[in-house]
């Protein structure tokens, strides 16, 4: 295992490279993860951003980035990244830029793109062994257009297209495993509310070549229906209840980086969010709650500190 520069909280950078004044909602968990990630990736980055909430980061004439940003349609950010990477490689080869001026090619999309519409372009990019870092902020729905369900929406969650008494009938797709099955350089899950774990993973990913994916669970006050001040609390509960396993795929192996010692009941996480209110009111849906809990328990069976 490589040495990390981030051994304790005080080692985290305090540079705050990402600019303030973005149009993201107050309390946006995606923005929380992004500002932490950007502080570690640094300025030598070019972002290729598929349509979604974060498209609004760079609306002319405003940008919170220090470097370049490019907008693509929902399905084609990895294809956009291929073009940018190729252009940089040509410039390097022709010595029109020095190795020092090279940029990290970073795809930034929501879950709607990463888990669904953009998966085909992603698959192609992995096949071509494109040297890029994919950051997906996963707010479990099409946030920018009013939280319709996506392939990342969890079972039973209420969205604007699954508003019945049982919520979303489908199940969250396992993007981590889909990527890992392709044997890329690196895959990791992170969350902005666990900054040390996040920092170590971004540090690793930054120094690798080839296709790399970071999935950041992004608590979303607007889409998940809770008070913005709860973002960090809800994020921490996602980890403590085992809903969001923090793990990485590296050297062909999956390693869990933070195993909750005493997993809290998933209810504590669900209860804080309006999108799950129908599980508790007008009366508790014991059956559905038990099903959700059981699925988490099954996941964690046999997973111990490696």
């Amino acid at each position: 295992m490589t040495e990390t520069a981030f051994r304790r909280m005080k080692d985290l950078p305090s540079t705050r490279l990402l600019g303030t004044g973005t149009p993201m909602c107050a309390g946006c968990g995606g923005l929380l993860a992004l500002h932490e990630i950007y502080d570690i990736l640094g300025e030598k980055t070019v972002f290729i951003n598929a349509a979604g909430c974060m498209t609004l980061l760079s609306v002319y004439p405003f940008t919170p980035f220090r470097g370049s940003w490019l907008y693509t349609s929902m399905a084609s950010a990895p294809a956009g990244a291929q073009g940018v990477r190729d252009a940089l490689d040509i410039l390097l080869e022709q010595k029109r830029i020095s190795a020092d001026e090279d940029l990290q090619t970073v795809v930034l999309t929501g879950d709607g793109s990463a888990y669904g519409m953009g998966l085909s372009a992603t698959s192609g990019a992995i096949d071509r062994n494109l040297d890029f870092l994919y950051i997906c902020y996963d707010n479990e729905g099409y946030g920018n257009t009013g939280q319709q369900f996506s392939e990342a929406t969890p079972h039973a969650a209420k969205t604007s297209t699954s508003s019945g008494p049982r919520g979303f009938p489908g199940f969250k797709k396992d993007l981590f495993d889909i990527w890992a099955a392709n044997r890329p350089a690196y895959v990791a899950t992170v969350i902005g509310t666990e900054p040390l774990d996040l920092a170590r993973k971004i540090e690793k990913a930054k120094n690798m070549k080839g296709p790399r994916l970071i999935i950041a669970l992004a608590p979303c006050p607007t889409g998940w229906d809770y008070d913005p001040k709860e973002t960090v609390e809800i994020g921490k509960l996602a980890v403590k209840t085992g809903v969001w396993p923090l793990k990485e795929y590296i050297d062909g192996k999956v390693v869990h980086t933070k195993i909750p010692r005493q997993r809290k009941p998933v209810e504590e996480y669900l209860q804080k969010q309006g999108r799950f209110a129908h599980l508790f009111k007008p009366e508790r849906n014991e059956k559905l709650l038990a099903e959700i809990q059981q699925r988490i328990d099954v996941y964690w069976e046999g997973i111990s500190n490696e």
Binding site: S14, L18, T20, G21, G27, P64, G192
Partner: protein, 321 residues
């Protein structure tokens, strides 16, 4: 033609208010137009919505510049120029503000030609963004001020608009709207239908000739970083985080790291500094600070305290000279 503008913050229900009011007009045989107006901003950002209603077909389009009625859901917006609350207010305009302060105070403060009325905030909540049913309250008051909208039409419009939220919420909204309708009874019919604006009165904007530039100059490309810092998202805030530096134990990282906007930086001595021009007021820092050194203060209270402090400081200087 009636021209009405509702001003509020994203999440306060102004779009709903405009839809309810225009629907109520429609039930009374009016031609109507309603539209919300917001950009990429989100919850808390100043927004407005407008309604036109007339017995004849409406040919006017776009933002209302000569309102007959302006309803302000959140009085902290009045002082924000970008919110455009006072735009186009004339002698005929009725301006109704949801406020704890008296109409006189606002009249003196604003010195606008129109009449100022107060919509007393129905519930004592600190954070105005949390006021539920503000949209229906505003629609109810507007309907009565206009005077020609019967309560049944208002109620029907609310049922139509909010049916998908379930009976419990619809009932609560009906009750809120009825209370506001009753509260405004004293001023029923105060709003006078505006006259037609003729195309002849239309003043052409002063066009500026723009030379046609080559694409490398004229394309919407951003040539410099960090320009977002020029956008004052601090105006979204209804609550302000205030740090008690006596209690702060200079852990340095919690509030600064968890602020999604990066609006909290730490100075050389390890004390956090909140950039109030940019803080959107999510209150995550208040919730997360380990020694509870950050308090949430209503923005209106904080602004008043600042103003008082400034006055006292000036007076103190005056005393010395």
């Amino acid at each position: 033609m009636y021209r009405i503008r509702f001003h509020g913050r994203g999440g306060q229900g102004m779009k709903t208010a405009s839809r309810i009011l225009s629907n109520a007009f429609f039930l009374g045989g009016y031609e109507v137009q309603d539209a919300p107006r917001y950009g990429a901003e989100r919850r808390g950002a100043p927004i407005f919505a407008y309604v036109r209603a007339a017995k004849q077909p409406i040919n006017e389009r776009g933002i209302i510049n000569r309102p007959d009625l302006v309803i302000v859901a959140d009085d902290s917006l009045v002082a924000i120029p970008a919110a455009g609350v006072l735009q186009g207010i004339g002698p005929q305009t009725v301006l109704m503000i949801n406020s704890h302060e008296a109409a006189r105070t606002w009249e003196e403060r604003l010195n606008v030609p129109g009449q100022v009325l107060i919509l007393p905030v129905t519930e004592e909540v600190e954070d105005r963004a949390e006021l539920p049913f503000l949209g229906t309250t505003c629609a109810g008051a507007a309907a009565r001020l206009i005077g020609i909208i019967p309560l049944e039409h208002l109620q029907q419009a609310i049922r139509d608009e909010l049916a998908h939220l379930g009976t419990e919420i619809v009932e609560k909204n009906l009750q809120q709207a009825a209370e506001a309708y009753e509260l405004a009874a004293e001023y029923a019919g105060k709003v006078i239908e505006g006259t037609e604006i003729s195309a002849q009165d239309y003043a052409k904007p002063e066009w500026i000739d723009m030379p046609f530039e080559v694409a490398s100059i004229s394309a919407p490309t951003i040539h410099t970083g960090l320009t977002s810092e020029l956008a004052a998202t601090g105006t979204w805030r209804t609550m302000r985080p205030v740090i008690d530096y006596q209690l702060c134990n200079r852990c340095w990282w919690v509030c600064s790291e968890f602020c999604p906007d990066g609006a909290i930086t730490v100075d050389d001595e390890g004390y956090p500094q909140i950039d109030l021009d940019q803080c959107k007021g999510c209150m995550i820092c208040v919730a997360q600070c380990p020694p509870h050194a950050i308090e949430a203060v209503a923005e209106s209270v904080a602004q008043l305290a600042e103003a008082t402090e400034a006055t006292e400081a000036t007076e103190a200087v005056g005393d010395k000279s």
